[in-house]
Amino acid sequence: MDPIEFFSNHIFRMVFFGTTVIGIVSGALGAFAYLRKQSLISDVIGHAALPGALLAFLTAVVIFGVNGRNMLLLIVGAVITGTLAALFANVVAARTKIAIDTAMAISLTTFFGLGMLLLRIVANNPFPGKGGIQDYLFGNAASITRADLTTSVVVGAFALTVMLVFWKEFTLRTFDPVLSTMLGFRARVIDTLMFATIVIAIVIGVKAVGFVLMVAFVVTPPAAARQWTNTLPAMVILSAFFGGLGSGLGAYLSISMGNVPTGPVIVLVLFAIFLISLLASPKRSIVVTALRRVEARKALKREFNTEGAPR
C-alpha cells in the first residue's frame, strides 16, 4: 500500500499514530527499567494488569452503570493490580528464602490466571459494552479511537514529564542508590515515581497491543539502544526513537499485508532492530567482540608458546 493511500484512511492513521506514540513513550520510559534491571518485573506488571482492567470494567458496568471501556478507567485498574503483583513478588523475595525469579513467576501466573477467569466471566455474561474486551490480552490496534489517542498522548506526556523533571534523581538512584540516599534524596519517593512511570509505560498500550505483548515495547528498545550509546540521554532518546520507529513501521506493515494483527508485527520489527543492534553496533557488536577475542587468544597463545619453547 502506498503511503498516500495509507494516510488518507482515518483508521489507518489512528493505528499508525496511536502505536507510534505508545512506542515512543514506552521506549523512553523503558530505559530506566532496563538500567534498574527490572525488565522481568515489567512482564509481571503486564500480565497482572489484565485482572485490574477487567475489574475496572466490571466495577464501572455493574456498580456505576457507566461505559466500562473508558481508557483512563482501564489504566487505573491496571495500575492497581500491576502494582500489587510487583509488590507481592518483591515482598516475598525480601521476606522469605524464595528467590525473586520464583516469586515473580508465581505472582505473574496467579494474577494472569485470575485475569483469564474474569475474562471468561465477562464473556459469558451479557454485560453492556463488553464487545472487544478480549482484546485486552493481545490488543486490537484498529480499535484505537481519537479519544484513546488523546488519552495516550496525555498520560504518556505526563509520565515523560515526570521522568524529565526527576532526571537527575532517577539517574543517581539507578546508578548509585547508596550515594542517592546518603545525599538525602528519599528513596521511597523516587522509587514510587519511577515505578509509576514504568507501569504507565506498560498499561498505555493495552488497547492497541494488549498486556501480554506490551512488555516488548518496554524492554526491547532500550536493550537495542544501549548497544549504540554510552550516555543516558542518548540512550533514552534512541530508545524512544527505536520504539516509535518499530511501532510506526510495524503498524504500516501489518496494514499493508492485509489481515495481520498489528501488535505482533510491531514486536517482530522491534526484535529485528534489536538483532541488528546486537550484530552491527560499533563497540558492543557480538561479531566484533568475538573476532577480537579470537585475535587476543591467538596473540596470547603465541606469547605462551615462545615463552615455553626450549632455548
Partner: protein, 248 residues
C-alpha cells in the same frame, strides 16, 4: 583535645537476626586518616553504612561533627566499593564526577556549566582529565577508582568515607591516590578508609581501627596496630599469620 569528626556510641547492627556489629564505640579525630581493618564479615562496610544512615542500627547512636547526619550531609563524601558499581551503566567519567554536585543542588535543580567545571577540576586533580568522555566501563581498575575519588572530591566534604578504595588497582594509581589523600589530610580533612591489605595500612593511615564485630583496638597507628591486636581481630586466620610471620 582534638575535635571529633565522627563518632558512634554503643552501636549495634544486625542483619535479620545475625549480629554484625556489637557495642561499637568508634571515634575519628578531625584531620586523621583512619583505616578500618578486619577479616571478611567483620562488619567494616556495615560500620560505615551505619554511620551514614544507610543501615538502621539495632541500638546506639552516631554523630558526625557532633551533630545528627541529617544536619551535616553536605560535609560528608562517600566512595563505594568497586564491586558494587554497575560498570556497564551508560555514563561518562565527567558525568560521574558531576554527580558529586547533586547533593548541594537538591531536588529539581540541574547541574550547569559551573558544576561541570568543578567536576573537570577534580578530574585534573586525580589525573583523569584525558579520559573524561569515556564510558566508565572502558576504564582500567585504577582509573575507575580515581574517577570515583574525583566524584568524592567534587562533593568537597570535610569527612570522606571510602570503602576499599585500593581494591584491584595498579601501583601508579595507588600512588596518585595516596598523594591526593595526603593532600586532603594536610588540608585538615578527615578520611575513613575500609582496607583489607594489612601490609599497606600504615603507608597512608595515621590511625587504625581493628574490627571484628566489636572494636579490638582503635587509635594512633602504632598503638593500635600491634601483633597481639591483629591476632585478636583475625582469630589466627591464615592471611594474618602469614603477614605477622613476615613482619617478625
Amino acid at each position: 583535645m582534638t575535635p571529633i569528626a565522627c563518632e558512634s556510641r554503643d552501636l549495634s547492627v544486625a542483619y535479620r537476626a545475625d549480629p554484625v556489629l556489637q557495642h561499637v564505640d568508634f571515634r575519628v579525630p578531625v584531620g586523621s586518616v583512619m583505616g578500618i581493618v578486619g577479616p571478611n564479615g567483620a562488619g567494616k562496610s556495615t560500620l560505615i553504612k551505619a554511620m551514614l544512615g544507610l543501615v538502621t542500627p539495632l541500638a546506639g547512636t552516631s554523630e558526625i561533627f557532633g551533630r545528627p547526619l541529617d544536619e551535616v550531609r553536605n560535609r560528608v563524601g562517600y566512595m563505594p566499593q568497586s564491586a558494587t558499581v554497575d560498570w556497564d551503566f551508560p555514563t561518562t567519567v565527567i558525568d560521574l564526577a558531576v554527580m558529586g554536585t547533586y547533593g548541594e543542588l537538591g531536588w529539581f535543580r540541574r547541574p550547569g556549566k559551573a558544576e561541570r567545571e568543578r567536576a573537570m577540576a577534580a578530574l585534573e586533580q586525580t589525573g583523569m582529565q584525558d579520559v573524561a568522555t569515556r564510558q566508565i566501563g572502558e576504564l582500567s581498575g585504577g582509573q575507575r577508582q580515581r574517577a570515583f575519588l574525583a566524584r568524592a572530591l567534587v562533593q568537597a566534604p570535610d569527612l570522606y568515607f571510602m570503602d576499599e578504595p585500593f581494591q584491584g588497582i595498579d601501583a601508579k594509581s595507588q600512588q596518585s591516590m595516596i598523594e591526593v589523600l595526603t593532600g586532603l589530610s594536610a588540608a585538615g580533612k578527615t578520611i575513613v578508609i575500609v582496607h583489607h591489605h594489612l601490609a599497606s595500612v600504615l603507608d597512608f593511615c595515621d590511625h587504625v581501627t581493628l574490627l571484628n564485630k566489636t572494636i579490638i583496638a582503635s587509635g594512633p597507628g602504632e598503638e593500635a596496630f600491634t601483633s597481639d591486636n591483629i591476632r585478636a581481630a583475625y582469630e589466627a586466620s591464615d592471611g594474618a599469620e602469614a603477614f605477622l610471620t613476615a613482619a617478625e
